[in-house]
């Protein structure tokens, strides 16, 4: 009886034994800093300093060159690398400012081709802003040209909203920065995606780098970016590019790998050369995944709008931080909506652009062929006239037909503000019991339990799970990743990060499974839920941090609520996608065999959607870790707080990067376990 149980449930019994051994270690190993079984010595404690010195040497001492500084009439020694990165920065900045000045005017572009003296001496040398009506009309016309009336309405309405609510100036600043960062990310993503497709060596080198780039919290590379590239819109753009390119690379590679061999062969038989095969056959055929990549890039770029303002990006993100600091939640919300609107419009426009069809046989006259350009030209002239007219109407005041100044538009701020006030007034007292109960009965015991784990027990448990799931290889990978963290000074901090991440992942996955499963039963509900997911993903999370703090205080509850709101997005999204992709024939088979809705859910939907749902769980972990780090803005004592602290540390670069790696490695370890398990299940289900 016993043996048959063991052979039948080999993994389960292994897991049981593992748990027993784990608890034995937890009980036997006594807290004592000198005991290696309790905590490993921080052998890597000096590594941040080394990284720091290396980066600073590279940046300030390595290969010095003489550069003449005309302002102080002296030659200065500047490290070569710094000159190069600054040159690159200036290039990026030039592009951002060029686009920005087309939209809202300025002198930087003229300065780039003349000098500041020239501009000072010639006051006429300033580029005027176009009236906002031109941009709004242009967006609508572009939308119409690409995809007809609906897109025109969306693009037009979004721009009008932004202007009328008095966010024109910052929104155009953000837009100009996204219009540089997003295309660069897409191009870099395509380039590296193609290179990895062509060369296994490149793929092998890039894969771990991509993993790290995607799991590393962006706070941790803010300092290195400012040191290497300076402070300003370009630095924000570069940090955004680092963040937005990896998913593009991944999706490009995925798409290219999915191109059927016969399609390539067909291209070859049509006499395509290498270039034609790549750009006319492979890339277009992989377009579905590549377009998802473009969508992700746009989402990521706008998700970075707030963080980028930490290192100098002007626009909505900075204004949002400012509004939050004044606790003007209504204003922050309006700014957040602007960010979401820009994301949605850019996403839809890029998608429509990619899907645009050509009519080859329409015999068009000049006017018909250029009707949109002509329409825009006409519109342009009309709007200028309107702006001039506006100057007459609003003689001394603000010319609303030209530019609605920042925060001078209409606003719904009071409405939201009173909403938040009402919430605090009515809910605060009621929520305190819940808050206290949760903290005292769940969170603190859980946190203490994590901290009371001897390091040896943690390794036994994690490597054991790795062994059960993926054999010795998985055990070593997971162990190696954790070992890095255990050898730094921040193991306890990492345990706290793990506690917060694991708590929110459990809740998020539960919510995601239930909400996702229910929504997946109805087409409309699914679409609505996915729309909510898209919105929440770009909506700056900073905004809801404030009301949450007002209700729950600076506590772990607040942090975890913010994390759960964010981490539930992928859990819901992947559950819906997974279940909706279960073949209809299987669902029908289930119904014909008389399964109840619940049985069908348990026996058919969930198991068959399982691999996809596991990808969702994987994303949930990544999202949760990401948000736990942002939770440092509320107040935590985990790795995130130290990353935030690294912004002002003497060894900021080294500490930031090392802490970032610690977070990334937690993510990678979980990622590895889940992926290994999911692909095994997939094989077992015959779904691969």
């Amino acid at each position: 009886m016993d043996t048959s149980f063991f052979t039948k449930h080999r993994k389960l019994s292994q897991f049981g034994i593992l748990l027993i051994a784990f608890f034995a270690l937890v009980i036997l190993v006594k807290p004592n800093e000198a005991n290696v079984l309790w905590r490993f010595p921080s052998l890597l404690a000096s590594l941040p300093g080394i990284i720091n010195d290396f980066a600073e040497n590279l940046m300030f001492n390595w290969f010095p060159i003489q550069v003449y500084d005309p302002h102080i009439e002296e030659y200065e020694e500047v490290a070569l690398l710094r000159e190069l990165t600054r040159g690159f920065s200036r290039g990026v900045l030039f592009m951002i400012e060029f686009i920005r000045e087309i939209l809202i005017g300025g002198v930087k572009t003229i300065v780039a081709f003349t000098s500041w003296e020239f501009v000072r001496e010639n006051p006429w040398a300033a580029w005027p802003a176009v009236p906002w009506t031109v941009v709004a009309g242009g967006a609508a016309i572009l939308g119409y040209a690409l995809n007809g009336r609906n897109l025109a309405l969306l693009a037009g309405a979004a721009t009008v909203y932004i202007s009328v609510f008095g966010q024109w100036h910052p929104a155009m600043e953000t837009l100009s920065f996204v219009l540089v960062a997003a295309p660069i990310s897409v191009l870099l993503g395509l380039l590296f995606g193609i290179l990895s497709y062509k060369s296994h060596a490149v793929e092998a080198i890039l894969a771990p780098l991509l993993n790290i780039a995607q799991t590393m919290p962006h706070f941790s590379y803010l300092v290195p970016v400012t040191v290497f590239f300076g402070l300003g819109d370009h630095a924000g753009a570069i940090a955004t590019i680092i963040f937005a390119t990896p998913p593009m690379i991944r999706l490009t590679l995925l798409g290219l790998k999915k191109v059927p061999v016969e399609v390539v062969e067909a291209g070859l038989m049509n006499g395509s050369n290498d270039r034609q095969i790549l750009f006319k056959v492979l890339v277009p055929t992989a377009r579905r995944d590549i377009l998802i990549g473009v969508n992700q890039v746009i989402m990521q770029c706008l998700a970075m709008a707030v963080i980028a303002s930490f290192i100098g990006a002007k626009g909505l993100g900075f204004n949002l931080l400012l509004a939050l600091n004044q606790l003007r939640i209504g204003q922050a919300l309006e700014l957040g909506i602007c960010i979401v609107l820009i994301a949605v419009v850019l996403d839809k426009l890029s998608l429509a652009f990619a899907n645009k069809q050509t009519d080859y046989f329409a015999d068009l006259s000049f006017v018909e062929r250029h009707k949109y350009m002509l329409l825009f030209a006409g519109f342009f002239v009309g709007c200028i006239a309107l702006a001039l007219l506006g100057r007459l109407i609003f003689q001394d005041g603000i010319n609303y037909l030209y530019l609605v100044p920042h925060n001078k538009g209409i606003t719904t701020e009071l409405f939201w503000q009173s909403g938040v006030d009402w919430m605090v007034d009515n809910w605060y007292a009621g929520l305190q019991g819940f808050n206290r109960g949760l903290i005292v009965n769940v969170l603190q015991p859980m946190k203490n339990a994590y901290l009371a784990m001897p390091v040896s027990a943690t390794f036994l448990l994690v490597m054991g799970i790795g062994y059960i799931i993926g054999g010795i290889r998985s055990a070593l990978i997971v162990g190696g990743l954790l070992l890095f963290i255990a050898l730094t000074e921040w193991w306890d901090r990492a345990l706290i990060t793990m506690y917060m991440a694991s708590f929110s992942v459990i809740i998020s996955v539960t919510i995601g499974l239930i909400v996702g499963s229910v929504c997946a039963q109805y087409t409309f509900a699914s679409k609505a839920a996915l729309l909510v997911c898209d919105t929440l993903q770009t909506f700056p999370s900073f905004i809801y941090l404030i009301p949450v703090i007002m209700l729950f205080g600076v506590t772990d509850t607040s942090v975890l609520i913010a994390v759960i709101i964010y981490a539930t997005i992928p859990a819901v999204r992947y559950t819906i996608e997974g279940i909706r992709n279960v073949p209809a024939s299987l669902k029908e088979a289930g119904m014909m065999s008389g399964a109840t809705a619940f049985q069908r859910w348990v026996k058919i939907d969930i198991p068959l959607a399982f691999p996809h749902i596991m990808l969702g769980v994987n994303q949930t972990v990544i999202f949760a870790l990401f948000m736990v780090i942002i939770g440092a803005m509320i107040g935590t004592d985990d790795l995130g707080q130290y990353i935030l602290k690294a912004l002002s540390d003497k060894q900021g670069i080294g500490n930031g990067l090392m802490l970032g790696l610690c977070v990334a490695f937690i993510g990678l370890a979980v990622d590895h376990l889940i992926n290994t398990w999911a692909s095994q299940r997939k094989n077992a289900l015959g779904l691969s």
């Binding site: 005309p70 302002h71 040159g87 290039g91 990026v92 030039f94 300065v111 081709f113 003349t114 000098s115 500041w116 003296e117 020239f118 803010l222 300092v223 400012t226 040191v227 300076g230 402070l231 303002s309 930490f310 290192i311 100098g312 990006a313 002007k314 931080l321 400012l322 939050l324 600091n325 004044q326 606790l327 100044p405 605090v424 007034d425 605060y428 007292a429 808050n435 005292v440 603190q444 404030i546 007002m550 209700l551 205080g553 600076v554 506590t555 509850t557 939770g631 440092a632 803005m633 509320i634 107040g635 935590t636 004592d637 707080q641 935030l644 602290k645 912004l647 002002s648 540390d649 900021g652």
Partner: protein, 311 residues
């Protein structure tokens, strides 16, 4: 990439041709950082306005208030006009140790960065005896929160501001059994807690500073045993002392005096009092003006204050 580098090289080249003659201030813009609190942003625009009155070009760049010192050091940002002793002292001196950043004088504003309570805590007599610190011994429960295990909670700024200063102070004052320190993630978190507590009329002890927008609503700093040199644990003392009257400094990149001698001269003379700073912040926080408008109004209304700086 190649094109971009060539382009930027061209840009550098073009930019450097015109700037040979150095009659007065360079035409290159003076880069002023803006952070995420009102008085700082208004003061940025005020100082920018002062520079512009001298014929200088000014550019504003948003920046993290901690990371900005590294940027000044390298030269990406020209000045910082609100260096608070206790919150940014560490970052400022760290950057100075590496070189490239200079101390451009101190405002006369008397600043204090200290733990305190909103005025209504005193007025409603929630903890009799405040603001004297000894009163705290008798009412930790007034300041208890969900996660403080029955103890009173001190809401401190992030650890990057003053490390373990408050926990050591609690221990030195013998309050450790009654109070715990909770580090908030940033100023926003503190303001949110203050606003929420005010609605409920709840007791709260939090780190705060003056001049600040909270001055308008009333905020009382706790009176700890007075600060003396060397009283802090880090300086070899026992830590049982409050904060010193702090300084509010100005910092600049080391090239600033050479590139913009006139502007630097004005900047080094710039000296705002607590009243000035309070007025600037109030225009935004109380009157609801935009930051630029507030600066314009302040400059127009207070020529007597700032004109002497440019003479």
């Amino acid at each position: 990439m190649k094109i971009r580098n060539t382009l930027s090289a061209a840009v550098i080249g073009l930019a450097s041709i015109g700037s040979q003659a150095m009659a007065a201030d360079s035409a290159e813009p003076i880069v002023i950082p803006t952070h995420n609190w009102s008085s700082q942003v208004v003061m940025a625009y005020v100082i920018g306005g002062i520079f512009e009155s001298l014929g200088d070009t000014v550019e504003y760049v948003p920046a993290d208030s901690q990371a900005v010192y590294e940027a000044i050091r390298i030269g990406d940002v020209t000045i910082s006009h609100e260096v608070w002793q206790s919150t940014f002292g560490a970052s400022f001196y760290n950057a100075m140790a590496k070189g490239g950043i200079i101390d451009a004088g101190t405002h006369s504003a008397a600043t204090l960065e200290e733990m305190g309570v909103p005025q209504y805590v005193i007025d409603d007599n929630l903890c009799p005896g405040l603001p004297n610190w000894e009163a705290l011994k008798n009412c930790p429960e007034v300041f208890a929160t969900a996660d403080s295990e029955g103890k009173g909670r001190w809401l401190e700024g992030p650890q990057s501001w003053h490390g373990d200063l408050m926990p050591t102070r609690l221990a030195a004052l013998g309050l450790s059994d009654q109070y715990v320190v909770k580090f908030a993630g940033g100023a926003d978190a503190i303001w949110a807690e203050l606003a929420s507590a005010k609605k409920e009329g709840r007791g709260i002890i939090t780190f705060n500073w003056t001049p600040n927008f909270t001055d308008a609503e009333g905020f009382a700093f706790i009176e700890f045993p007075p600060y003396t040199d060397g009283c802090r644990v880090a300086d070899g003392g026992d830590g049982a002392c409050g904060s010193p009257k702090g300084w509010l400094k100005k910092a600049a990149n080391y090239k600033f005096p050479k590139t913009h001698p006139a502007a630097y001269s004005a900047f080094s003379k710039i000296d705002f009092s607590s009243t000035d700073i309070g007025q600037m912040a109030a225009l935004v926080d109380i009157d609801g003006m935009s930051h630029q408008d507030a600066a314009t109004k302040w400059l127009a209304d207070h020529e007597d204050v700032w004109k002497p700086f440019v003479e």
